[in-house]
Each structure stands twice: as structure tokens, then as C-alpha cells.
């Protein structure tokens, strides 16, 4: 991990993404960016803003609504030595790319005996709130984790978004780059210079001895708020952001869980066959039966995401549910505790009022 300290300034997640792509396109003429609507005035919520003007329509272009073939085109161009970044405004739409990603992108290097590489980045955004509903809110990263040959990253802040994007573009493998819509407006300290954030190295976001909390994507923000609330009542949570799910830094998670003996994995996704199931299973396998690690998974409720805010409020884990779950693990289920409802509300959620 290279971390320059010069020229660090607060930057939004969305601008960090844009800046990373801009810098990589400047560095390497083989990098190109394409996908539905990357070149229109909305520019994928601003994440591709200005790139068309700077690099021209040969390197920044929209596509027909043909996600399947466009994924194949990206794969072919990548095999031919280019470095495509294929953008999708929602994670849900990757289902149309599944055939190419699973059957070709993930397999090519192996099945062709190492004679080709597929250096491509597949960007997509997970939606939430303001009526995104059933088909614009899914987070299907575990489907990609399942298949050997695909890397999966889900940066939770602007700093990691930029560094991971640069790493992804330079990686010689297909990288599924998972973004969260609500993170776009969040700011963190981001160096101006290009830098990389290494895949397979988790970030320790807070230290604590009572419980290990692994949080994925935007759940890092939600869990850090839970951690703050818990610390006020003397419960200290160690919050870990894996950053990349494939490769996964299971050692860091395992070491922490061995110390705290409690592991909660909070995913912004369903738990069934999900990243949370995988992380818990791997930690328990490594720890063995005598480690006595108590585990919990939190994620989407096992139902379809509703658009109505009154229903949706119960669909996602949030700082309150996370904090209460941890509280009951540490203090026991009999101990009643309710965090201050005003303080569980997160700015990025409150500020977001759509439409997309």
C-alpha cells in the first residue's frame, strides 16, 4: 500500500472514483471506460463527469442496452491487451452479465492454460432508499465471490475508493467493483497523487476487545456509529473493513475474533450463502471447536426490498440493530438497552432524497 501524504484533501467518494479513473486513463492509453450512459450529462451520478471531454468518444462511450454482449466485448478487448472499465448504474443489472463474467472472464486465464489475461473492471452501484425497491437495491457480491477467478472489492470510503480503483485497473484479472449509492456523498481525506490500496488487506477501523465486527461496504459506516454508541456504555467493538472480499484477509479477522471471542459480520446483502456466511464459516473452521467464538450474521431481511420507507426501515441493518445485537451478545439477552434514536440516524441516509 502506498500512501502519499502530500496534497491530501477532503474528497467525496464519487469524485474519488472519477479522479482514479482519470489518472489511470492519463497514465495508460489502453484504459477505456464504457457502459450505459457514462457520457451523458448526469455521468453516472457524477462519477464519470468530464471524462468524455478529456479523453474523447473513443475512450469514453455509451453502449446499447446489451449488457451481455458488452461484457463479452470488454472481455475480448481485455484479452487483446486493453483495460476496459465497464460501468453499470446498478448492481442488479450485472445479472445480465453473469454468463460472460462467470463462464468466460473468470475462467479464461485458467481454461486457456495461462495464455490470456482478462484485465477488466466491472463497476456497479448498489441502490438504497427513495423507492429503489426490489430491482434497484440488490447487493449480489456473494454470487461473484462464489466463482474462482473473479476479484470482488467493496470500498467503504473515498480514500479506499480511489486506491482500490487504481489497483483494480492495474490488476490483470476481472475485478467486480462494488459501490454503494449512499457512499457517493461521503468525504474522506484523499491524496491528489495516484496511489493503490492493496487487495486482501483488511483495515482496522476501531480497536476493541469485546467483539469483532466485520462490516461490508456502507455497513462500515453504520457499524462505526454502533461502535460509538456502544463505547459510551463501556462495550468496545473492533470494527474491521475487509475492503476486498476476494481476496479476503481472513487472517486479520480470525486473529481479532480469537481475541474477542465474539464475531458479528454485518453485510449489506442477504445472509444466505452470503459474504457473512463465508466469513463466519472460515473463521470457525480456522478457530476450531474449542475456540468458543460466538457468531452472528446481520444483513438484509430474508425478503424482497420494499420501496415504502416504512417497510424498508426494517429491511436493512442499521446502527441501532447492530448496536443492540452486540449489546445482547456482550451483556446477555436479558439486559435491556435502547440507543438514543436521534443518534442512530446517519447523515448520509438522512441527506439522500433521491431520485436515483
Amino acid at each position: 500500500m502506498s500512501l502519499p501524504t502530500d496534497g491530501v484533501r477532503p474528497l467525496k467518494y464519487v469524485d474519488a472514483l472519477r479522479e482514479a479513473v482519470e489518472q489511470e486513463m492519463e497514465r495508460d492509453p489502453d484504459v477505456f471506460l464504457f457502459g450505459l450512459d457514462v457520457d451523458d450529462h448526469k455521468a453516472i451520478q457524477g462519477s464519470t463527469q468530464g471524462l468524455l471531454a478529456k479523453f474523447g468518444a473513443e475512450r469514453v462511450f455509451t453502449t446499447p442496452l446489451s449488457e451481455d454482449a458488452m461484457t463479452g466485448v470488454a472481455i475480448g478487448a481485455a484479452m487483446a491487451g486493453m483495460r476496459p472499465i465497464h460501468v453499470h448504474i446498478r448492481n442488479d443489472f450485472l445479472m445480465l452479465c453473469m454468463n460472460q463474467l462467470v463462464n468466460i472472464a473468470a475462467k479464461a486465464h485458467y481454461m486457456y492454460g495461462g495464455s490470456v489475461k482478462v484485465p477488466m473492471v466491472v463497476r456497479s452501484m448498489i441502490g438504497k432508499s427513495w423507492g429503489q425497491g426490489a430491482q434497484h437495491s440488490q447487493a449480489l457480491h456473494s454470487m461473484f465471490m462464489h466463482v474462482p477467478g473473479l476479484k470482488v472489492v467493496a470500498p467503504s470510503n473515498a480514500h479506499d475508493a480511489k486506491g482500490c480503483m487504481i489497483t483494480a485497473v492495474r490488476d490483470n484479472n476481472p475485478v467486480i467493483f462494488v459501490e454503494h449509492r449512499l457512499l457517493y456523498s461521503t468525504e474522506s481525506a484523499v491524496p491528489e497523487e495516484p496511489y493503490t490500496v492493496e487487495f486482501g488487506r483488511a483495515r482496522l477501523c476501531s480497536r476493541g476487545d469485546d467483539v469483532t465486527v466485520v462490516a461490508v461496504s456502507n455497513m462500515v459506516i453504520e457499524c462505526l456509529r454502533a461502535q460509538e454508541l456502544l463505547s459510551e456504555i463501556g462495550i468496545h467493538a473492533e470494527v474491521i473493513d475487509p475492503i476486498s472480499l476476494v481476496p479476503l484477509d481472513i487472517e486479520t479477522i480470525h486473529a481479532s475474533a480469537m481475541r474477542t471471542r465474539r464475531l458479528v459480520v454485518v453485510d449489506n446483502a442477504w445472509t444466505c450463502c452470503g459474504a457473512s456466511a463465508e466469513i463466519v464459516a472460515r473463521v470457525l473452521e480456522m478457530a476450531g471447536p474449542r475456540a468458543g467464538i460466538e457468531v452472528r450474521r446481520m444483513g438484509f431481511e430474508t425478503t424482497t426490498c420494499p420501496p415504502s420507507p416504512w417497510l424498508e426501515a426494517h429491511f436493512y441493518p442499521n446502527p441501532s440493530t447492530v448496536a443492540k445485537t452486540i449489546h445482547s451478545m456482550v451483556r446477555g439477552t436479558d439486559a435491556e438497552w435502547e440507543p438514543d434514536p436521534d443518534r442512530v440516524r446517519l447523515a448520509y441516509q438522512v441527506q439522500f432524497n433521491g431520485p436515483f
Binding site: E58, P64, A69, H109
Partner: protein, 325 residues
Amino acid sequence: MDVAISSADTLDGTDIQRIYRSLRRIRRIEEEVARVYPTDRIKSPVHLSIGQEAISVGVIDLLGAEDVVGGSYRGHAAYLAKGASLPAMVAEMYGKATGCNAGKGGSMHLIAAAQNVIGASAVVGTHIPVACGHALALKRRRSSAVVAVFFGDGAVEEGVFYESLNFASLHKLPVLFICENNGFAIHEPLAKRWATDRLCERVATFGIPAERVADGDVFKIRSLAGKFIADMRAGGGPGFLECLTYRWREHVGPSEDYDAGYRQRSDLEKWIANDQVARLGGMVDGTVRAQIDTEIEQEISAAFAFAESSPIPETKELYTHVFAD
């Protein structure tokens, strides 16, 4: 390279010999694969191109080293016609470390990066957009090279085929689409799968010039491909060639299956009467032909011997190449 439109009349003796050699060589290789298959030394399902050789040979005869070829699991002919290694192909089928995919692809995924044979795919139609991606890269690099991609009549039923046609035409990509229409997808005939057989008309609506060769004539295929290739090299967009043909053996495996009831041997007989291997053989001088045939047999025995004696992959190879460095 000669990209002029050529028919049999404009070809000289060396051209005919070269085309004959390629046709005969592929036929004999596939027959040898079929002969060896029951011994179980070939560790891979085989989709033979016997009867369909003229399409790959006719098109690829006009391609140069820098041009790119893509095919499906029924892609042995395209791989061989492009000059990829025969010993490496046989070794691949044997599952040996010396295979063109290092024993990790098998018969359905042949690749030869050095000869610009992009890897074949066995999920029907999936290699078509990938071939377009190669064409996009060539175009971006201002190369005069072109891509030829082969697929069956089943593949044109996939949505991705139409998506690819549209994109290739929109971006004027240098890609020649070649449909090897053998009338069957496994055992299902066209009549049960296509609402109409006006494939070329469908393709033409994308603004892609489309031609059909109904009789398997290698010279017609070559001549039409030559016109498309010349247009693409001059900056024109994609072309489409539908070649009617016939799969002489079963869909997968070494045998005939005319007793299965889904097709008649009399259908095959028409194609045998029009066999391009025999036809071109008849156009080559007897002594030269005997010489060519002998060389082919020697090359085949050497390739199978190479595969036999090649080492098996080391166990650690199971885990290498999951990710590229």
C-alpha cells in the same frame, strides 16, 4: 497478402494444393480423433468438424498471421486452418501438460495465442461478443487486421448474437461473422427452432452485408469471405456469411448416428457427393496429391505419438492460473 476476389478460375495450382492440403489434413485429423476415441486416451468430449471443413478453410485461407480467429467447441477446423499446433491440440485432448491449454481446456476450448486463435467457448454463442472485443481493440489500435468468428445455427438464436451484430455494425468493427448452418442444434432441426430461415435478411437489417452459400463450395466461401475481408481492411464494417453445411457424425463423439431417427442417411449422401475434400483432391495432380497425403499421415502419427509420450500435468497445476499475476 492477396485479398482479391478469387474463384476457382483465378486460383493457380499452388492455391488449389494449399487448400486441398488444409481440407484433407483437417478431415484426416478428425478421422484419427474418431478412430482413437474409443480407446479412452482422449479425455475430452469431441465435437468433430467432419463435413464442415470447407468453411474454416475457405475463410481462413485469406487471413494473415495477424488476423484473429474465434470459434466454438466445434472449432478444431478453425484452429487447424489458422496454423495452430496439431501436436498441442492432440496433447490437449489427451489432457497432457504439453496441450495448447496446458491440459486445462480440453477439446472444446482450444487456443493458440501465437497464431491469434482466441480461445474457443462451449457455452453457445458466448465467444461471439468476445470476438467483437478483439475487433474493437484492433480498430482502436488502427490495425488493418480483422477478426473471423465461426458459430453454429444454434448460436444465432441467442440474444447475445443480435446484441453483438448491432454493436459491431454501430462501431464498424472489423469482424466477419460466419454461421456454419448444419441444420441441427444437437438433435433439434431448424424447423423446430427458427420462425423463418431468412437469417441473412435478419442480419442485413443491422446494416451488415450478408451472403449465403448453400452448397458448401469452398471457392464460393473463399471468394465471398475475400470480398468482406477486403472491405473490412479498407475500413468498412462487419460482414456476415451463412454457409449451409452438414455434420457427418453425431453431435458429440466419434460415431455416426443415422439410426437414431432424427435425420436420414440420404441427407448425408447429398453432401458426400459434394464433398470438398474429394473435389479438390481431384483437382490436384496424382503424384503431388499422394505426396501431400503421405505428409499428412506422417504429421498425424507424429502428433499422436507426441501426445502419447507427453507428461501429465503436475498436481500443482490444478491451482495455478486461477488468477493472473
